[in-house]
Symmetry: C2
Subunit: 353 residues, 2 copies
């Protein structure tokens, strides 16, 4: 493992229990029956533990959208052509994608990263150019990446989130774009959660039954050929993963090392979270699941990670859209904790008084 | 029925299918796989049908918080003393309650209405003074309200939402405060959904097992004594309801008559929705369930009304808190519909092209 990755992992510390206890104490003093804001209360307490601050704040928000292509699309596992990946980057740049709209509404900045788009988009302004390779190799013919590429993808994610933290960042959402990336994510999910691919593979952008069967068979072949080691997250990432998935794993590790909460988006982000947790189980404490996607493997991996999603809105877009909605709830939870009056301040009688 | 109520009901029209078809057509042209934003897409299409506008907007938002007391608290059915109702009104006025915090965050105005607080709070500034009675009567001794009071509560809700619509209103949330009002709501829910009280009665602000059993027995007695007619919503409201519940039913009817979507909050708002739907089944088309509460009767009544909640965050506060969070999602859904680029605009290849 590289120095950057090792140092980052060593900096990931447990949640701050003192801050959590103080946040819980304050929640219980606010003018509402104890616990009646349910998951919003829990979320504010978790954020206190992550930020080591009894009054956490979620004002400065970013969505990091990692974009890459996948050689496995040559097997015909996606409903959309590969050129859509690069076209969508331009859509992000112009502010026309769903994640742009949601981010404008919630006041989050969108950081788009070419970490492995198959087309030459080096002239696109307004994105970070960090291409490691023009897409992965076809995992049905051999490993998707070299070990060095996999390491570089993680390092890139760490570097990018570190730079965003330098600019000021209270919370970060993971986002992705890449035609074919539900195939890589299903492969990672199957290996690490020890399920068979047919149980964790979904229709992605809209496969029919025949397309879905082909996708499952493709993953079966890739796993049989590459034999990724479930106990070695880096091996799994390199053999059947993707450059954006490694990048997101790096974002998660880098954020956790700086006590910045990470809102996890859908299935691809979840695959990144599996890699991050494989490299550093402690990083799970810094993950919050923004939503549960329609992709069947997403619930499997959230259960595996011990994460309970905030939202369940039948979404399956990626880009960080579900995570961005979750960030809004995180902000609400912190505003409630900080801004509500206590029973004493408001002169309201508490239960049993 | 009064002229105001009758005229309001007559003005409630079906959803506008042309606007819905146009909104669906646009959703399918936006740069994302068809249907991949799930409930956000459905919500935008419903809002188009409600507002009769293929590009609905949810910018001007209000939460109407109806506040009243309940004579049934004399039976010991609440964990908090009755004076908390008036104390919480002052908390709303000072901006220290949960609904104030959430409304500030989402840019909604909060309209607090004394429609039946047991204390004299006529000197409180910043609220609407519409007291019909100082709380209801104890429904274990006779009807909670006279028929005239029940009618006045509904009329008051209509008048208030009409005035808000005059000021400019794209969407409205229902909210409530009133010690004892989960007891009245459970009674209404049991009668109208034809369940026994034990299946739809919950712990409210925090009863223990013994308190819960007493609450169920209290409702059993009130129903046996008053024999409300399940087919006559006004009879149910008068006999076992509450002034704030009637007020919320009026808000729903008035909003629906003006094609303004109504985000329904928790159990008390749901009881108001049952009354509104009983008076005018067409009004259901204008209701959106912001969330599902922990109160067990809430899911029962949402199922009865055919409403699927947007959020499930283990909340049980009322005040309109869950509905306000739902309004934020409604706004997001409209921004997506209006602001996302189409495949043609963005030059992105669509599926199969």
């Amino acid at each position: 493992m590289s120095n950057l990755i090792n140092e980052t992992i060593q900096n990931i510390q447990p949640l701050n229990k003192v801050a959590m206890d103080l946040a819980k104490e304050r929640q219980d003093s606010l003018t509402k029956p104890t616990g009646c804001l349910g998951r919003l209360e829990e979320l504010s307490i978790l954020l206190a533990g992550i930020q080591a601050n009894p009054r956490p704040q979620v004002k400065r928000k970013a969505v990091i959208v990692m974009v890459a292509d996948h050689g496995v699309v040559a097997e015909g596992t996606s409903a959309y052509p590969q050129e859509v990946t690069a076209q969508m980057v331009l859509n992000f740049v112009h502010g026309g994608a769903a994640i742009n709209v949601i981010s404008r509404q919630i006041g989050a900045r969108v950081v788009v990263v070419d970490i492995g788009v198959a087309a030459d988009i080096s002239d696109y302004a307004g994105i970070l150019h960090k291409k490691i390779a023009p897409g992965t190799q076809n995992m049905c013919k051999g490993p998707a990446m070299t070990l060095d590429q996999a390491l570089r993808s993680i390092e890139t994610g760490i570097e990018i989130v570190n730079a965003e933290i330098q600019k000021g960042l209270d919370i970060v959402s993971t986002g992705d774009m890449g035609i074919g990336n539900t195939t890589a994510s299903a492969a990672i999910c199957a290996v690490i959660t020890r399920k068979t691919p047919d149980g964790v593979t979904g229709r992605g952008t809209g496969l029919d039954d025949k397309g879905l069967a082909k996708k499952v068979a493709t993953i079966d072949r890739a796993l049989a050929l590459n034999k990724p080691n479930p106990a070695d997250a880096l091996d799994v990432l390199a053999k059947v993963g993707g450059l954006e998935i490694g990048g997101l794993a790096g974002v998660i590790l880098g954020a956790a090392a700086h006590r910045v909460p990470v809102m996890i988006d859908g299935f691809i982000s979840g695959a990144g979270a599996l890699i991050a947790a494989g490299l550093c189980p402690q990083a799970k404490d810094y993950m919050i699941a923004g939503h549960v996607s329609v992709e069947p493997g997403h619930k499997t991996l959230l259960d595996y990670l011990g994460l309970k999603p905030l939202l369940d809105l039948n979404m399956r877009l990626g880009e960080g859209t579900g995570a961005a909605l979750g960030m809004e709830l995180a902000e609400t939870s912190c505003c409630i904790l900080s801004e509500m009056a206590t029973f004493a301040e408001a002169g309201v009688s508490n239960k049993g008084e």
